[in-house]
Amino acid sequence: MRTGSRSAKIVTAVAAAVVIAVVWSGCAPPPAAPTEPYRAPRTAGGAPDLNGIWQSLNTANYDIQAHAARPALALAPAPPRTGAPGLDRATPIALPAPQVRALGAVGGVPAGEGVVEGDEIPYLPAAAAIKKENAEHWLERDPEIKCFMPGVPRATYMPYPFQILQGTDTILMVYEFAGTTRTIHMNDVVDSPSETWMGLSRGHWDGDTLVVDVTDFNDQTWFDRAGNFHSNALHVVERYTPVSPHHLMYEATIEDPNVFSRPWTISMPLYRRFEEDKQILEYKCVEFVEEAMYGHLGLIDPGTGQANK
């Protein structure tokens, strides 16, 4: 009986675990009945209604590939300890670089599973070397640090909300970071007369999915803080698919024959920010970065009040 009772308990526990597992897996990722795909409500004009404020919830802006947690974005090897028997180490320990040391745990990098399909970015060999160099010189090179426009797709998964505003022939994507706005042209539009940071965006509907074809980029933006980059031959095709009243699935296919050997794809859910009266607020970061960019260049450094040498 005791044995029987115990195995009954185990069976019950296993069954409960299965139930919990089923319920749990039913919660993530965004639910969709297997038979009938979600159909988005329509705007007054009859298009799928994607209006709202959206935000990603992941660590892709740190690194779009899978990554372990680490002490800081900028690391420097600790100087070797020599001359003390029993304290010398085979490999140096990576410590936060002096410029970011004071930030402590706030400056650490949270781990993440990555958003790249197959977790592989197909860099050409020369480009792979540049990516590595970018990562090593993150502090000097990441355009985010300088408050430059973040480019596409990075704008989508920065840790700020963005708003989709569906006009008649135009959809605006209004980003908080650096006050950037993208105009998605739903009508014909001529090519951009020059290269751009945020690209020229042409949109169309594929069922409920907003497909945006983005071209005319410059080579100045990155994909993340890990140094992943592209050239001015970048071509991005984005897909925004409503999968529930509160979720969009976002997918971007990235093509750049100067940097990658084949197209590759990232994907992630976007979550609706449905707090009452939620707005995209200002993040005018130019005035936040001027001291770092220009403080040392003038006659006087306002940060120290001293004359520059």
Partner: protein, 351 residues
């Protein structure tokens, strides 16, 4: 009693007369300069959910100075002869611009009163692309009736100081150029009527929001028109809430950040915590919008002032281009290194 005093006595009545005039004048000329459309030919177009439809790209194309020039003191309107004369000048300037003649520049105030010294370099920033529209109105400011910004005595000094510094310096650090040169903004107050240099304003409407995307500095306003109250967060562009009064969009903006300690090319565009804007947007024809703005700020002005501004709609395929100012601000390091070179030269030269 001088004429000015008589004028002051009837300020409010006059403001509405001028406003009505501006509407009539704008409606009577289409953007091609051709004959006015048949009366009643245009009716207010509406969005799918029934609001007046302002969507498209709009720009201030009139030749009216913000403040009334001193030579027109006491006169609210030009004569027909003066209008004809100005139209001739505009046509002549346009021809010269098309031939590549530099120096036909127009600053934000007027040709004679451009704040930019040595217009030659700067004239390309100011290319209107087509002749400006000539109006009888002698100043955008209709209230007070003298057509002048009612600065407080302190603000008048600050304005004179900023005019004297603009383009001249000293520039000891990045804090010394004006907010425009720092690629921050020229201020929300002037956004709608800034003119040719990136003065395009794209209106996009979606249920509950009217969004205005301004080209220069990629300034942007997402204005809720869903009945919400003001929030409590201070911003450069404040906290705008809109509502419809008939076919007029009324936008009330408060909660500005205090940025009076930055340098401004024109201090009347600077935000302070006491700044309050009330704007009225009315589409009056296919091509024209009547825009009125009332500006109140005891930090800078002795009383509220109102400007009445005709805004033109541009062709359907007009695009707002990306404005990457800070991203390409080579002027800032060059300005600072120039100031250092000047200082080095001065200290090296014998006295």
């Amino acid at each position: 009693m001088s004429y000015r005093h008589i004028v002051a006595a009837g300020t409010l009545a006059a403001a509405s007369v001028i406003a009505a005039f501006a509407l009539g004048s704008a409606a009577a000329q289409d953007s091609e300069g051709g004959p006015a459309p048949e009366a009643g030919a245009w009716s207010q177009s509406r969005t799918a959910w029934g609001d007046p439809d302002f969507q498209g790209v709009w720009r201030y194309e009139a030749d009216i100075p913000l403040e009334r020039p001193s030579q027109l003191e006491g006169r609210e309107l030009l004569t027909d002869e003066e209008v004809a004369q100005r139209e001739e000048i505009e046509a002549d300037q346009q021809a010269k611009r098309l031939e590549g003649f530099e120096g036909g520049a127009v600053g934000r105030l007027s040709i004679a009163e451009s704040p930019i010294r040595g217009n030659e370099y700067n004239s390309f920033w100011q290319d209107h692309g087509r002749p400006r529209q000539v109006y009888k109105q002698t100043s955008l400011i209709v209230d007070p009736r003298d057509g002048q910004i009612p600065y407080t005595p302190d603000a008048r000094k600050a304005a004179a100081r900023s005019t004297a510094r603009y383009g001249v310096g000293p520039f000891e650090s990045y804090l010394d150029p004006d907010t425009g040169e720092r690629c921050l903004t020229d201020g929300v107050t002037a956004m709608m009527w800034q003119g040719p240099n990136g003065g395009h304003n794209q209106f996009v409407q979606s249920p509950g929001f009217v969004t205005i995307l301004h080209e220069e500095f990629r300034d942007r306003r997402v204005i809720p028109v869903d009945g919400r109250a003001h929030g409590n967060i201070r911003q450069w562009f404040g906290d705008a809430v809109g509502h419809w009064e008939g076919d007029t969009l009324v936008v009330d903006t408060t909660n500005f950040l205090d940025r009076t300690n930055y340098e401004w090319a024109s201090i009347w565009t600077r935000p302070s915590e006491t700044l309050h804007l009330v704007e009225r947007f009315t589409r009056i024809s296919a091509d024209m919008m009547d825009y009125q703005i009332t500006i109140e700020d005891p930090t800078t002005f002795s009383g509220a002032w109102t400007a009445v501004i005709p805004i033109s709609r541009l062709a359907d395929d007009t695009q707002i281009y990306e404005y990457a100012c800070h991203e390409g601000n080579y002027a800032m390091p060059n300005l600072l290194s120039g100031a250092r070179a000047d200082a080095a030269k001065k200290s090296a030269s014998p006295r």
